[in-house]
Amino acid sequence: MKPVDARLKLERNEFTLDVDLSLPGRGITALFGPSGSGKTTLLRCLAGLERAPGGYLYVAGEIWQDGDYFLPTHKRRLGYVFQEANLFPHLDIRRNLEYGMRRSGIRRIDLDNALDLLGINHLLERRPENLSGGERQRVAIARALLVNPGILLMDEPLAALDLARKQEILPYLERLHEELSIPILYVSHSPDEVARLADHLVVMEKGRVVADGPLSETLARLDLPIRLGEDAGVVIDAVIGARDEAWHLVRADFAGGELWVRDNGMTLGHPVRVRILARDVSLAAAHTEHTSILNLMQGTIAEIADDAHPAQSLARVDVGGTPIVSRLTKRSAAALGLSPGQPVWVQIKTVALIG
């Protein structure tokens, strides 16, 4: 049995949620989709805030729902972060944090850890109305962690914040990602957040799951190109492996090769994510010496499929085990005689470092 197993069906006027999902036991799973696709409803069903009669739910080693059995929310070992922090206005920050602690028998030391993890030590004596939106959300995340949850559910925790506040919180979310051993389910409609945080991607549309799998694999699927924002593309986990001081570049090493990117001052050995959009990747049959393109790699065509426009194709190229997606015109594909299994040179024009 998978760490999280959910079979839920819920009919509302004009909306049906119909989901059969198994999720990994750690890392961040992003529930991604347009508004109205049922991501938040699914999350609320998992938390027991919404009832999907007759569903089945197995989380963190316990059955939460099965047939007529329905474990109420307050007995489920979960942490929940609402879109707007939802702190108790009648309690100061310390007592907001202690509210769940007292009810779940958490030790003092965990409070100190959570305060450090989210950088909210200095806010303890303040009241919720005197905090900025970003501070409130950090407190809400700490509060959710302080019930010793078996799973952390986050409902668009950044959606209500402006860009600057988002940038303020994202590093804390990345720390959660590195330090927590529990699975995190993260609802988002923001491509940037998903590219930056997710390990596992569940794409939803009209109440159904249309794609589900590890992030880079799912993004590289050509049968249903998942557009994170404006374009199809892939996200690759890498580590900063070298620095070229003279040209202000760093080398990001990934499973299948290396990429040179602009030096943003990251330390060597730091894990990074890079995003490569399909439109920035071109293919060549032979190695070209004379090009301005910095990142050239050898790969093998894995699959070619039609793109949205009849003039274009998408090609998935396997570069040492890492998939990279390229967009090219059908004429070019025909001129190069591309077919699966064929070796090609991959030219990557732009690589974006994210986090």
Binding site: H74, Y99, V147
Partner: protein, 226 residues
């Protein structure tokens, strides 16, 4: 100057209003909570029954209560079989009638306060391991404090000022059922206008002070979360 009978009426009235308000806190709070939260189809009917004393003439309410608590009424049978005798023309009878009569004045402000809290703080409490009862006392009650203040003051003041129901149920027995409003009526009947002035003026001042205190105790509306 007020007579000793007047002071007896004042003492009795304050006793009655205190007991009724405490009773309403115990009985009216769950009703207000249920009305604010339920999705039951019975909601509008129960709401109407609770509100009925607001529009019903006190004499009508008093008349039916008198029948109900009388020797051949359901409540009368019950109290007699329990060896408690009959309720009309007793202090407990007044308490029951006044509690019913003041019910809408207690339930409505509190129901509004509970509704204003919304689902979200209670959902947050549930995800923080609070059972529904725990969340009620640790989240809903503190957040609805202004509602409790308004409801208690209104029902206290309303009970102090009631006349029709008391006259129908309790009559005019000194130190047992003779409250201030009935005593004012007695004075006026007897053309004792000076004594009537003392009590009437006192009631006016009292009512004014209750409203001032209620507004002073109400916490200022805090700025909403952006």
């Amino acid at each position: 100057m007020p007579t000793s009978e007047d002071f007896g009426a004042i003492r009795l009235t304050l006793e009655l209003a205190t007991v009724v308000t405490l009773l309403l806190l115990i009985l009216g709070t769950p009703i207000a909570w249920w009305l604010a939260r339920t999705r039951s189809r019975l909601r509008s009917s129960v709401g109407a029954i609770v509100t009925l004393p607001l529009v019903l003439p006190p004499t009508v309410l008093g008349f039916y209560l008198l029948l109900l608590m009388g020797p051949s009424g359901f409540l009368g049978h019950l109290t007699q079989s329990l060896g408690l005798g009959l309720l009309p023309f007793t202090f407990p009878g007044l308490v029951i009638a006044s509690t019913l009569y003041s019910l809408p004045f207690f339930v409505q402000p509190l129901q509004n306060a509970f509704e204003a809290i919304g689902d979200r703080p209670l959902e947050a409490a549930a995800t923080l391991r609070a059972s529904p009862l725990d969340a009620f006392f640790s989240v809903a009650v503190p957040l609805a404090k202004p509602g409790f203040v308004t409801s208690s003051f209104l029902s206290f003041a309303h009970t102090v000022g009631e006349f029709g129901v008391v006259l129908m149920i309790g009559g005019n027995i000194p130190d047992k059922t003779r409250v201030i409003s009935v005593q004012i009526y007695n004075h006026v009947e007897a053309l004792e206008y000076t004594e009537a002035h003392w009590l009437a003026g006192g009631m006016l001042a009292f009512s004014f002070l209750v409203l001032v205190a209620m507004n002073a105790l109400k916490p200022r509306q805090k700025a909403a979360e952006p």
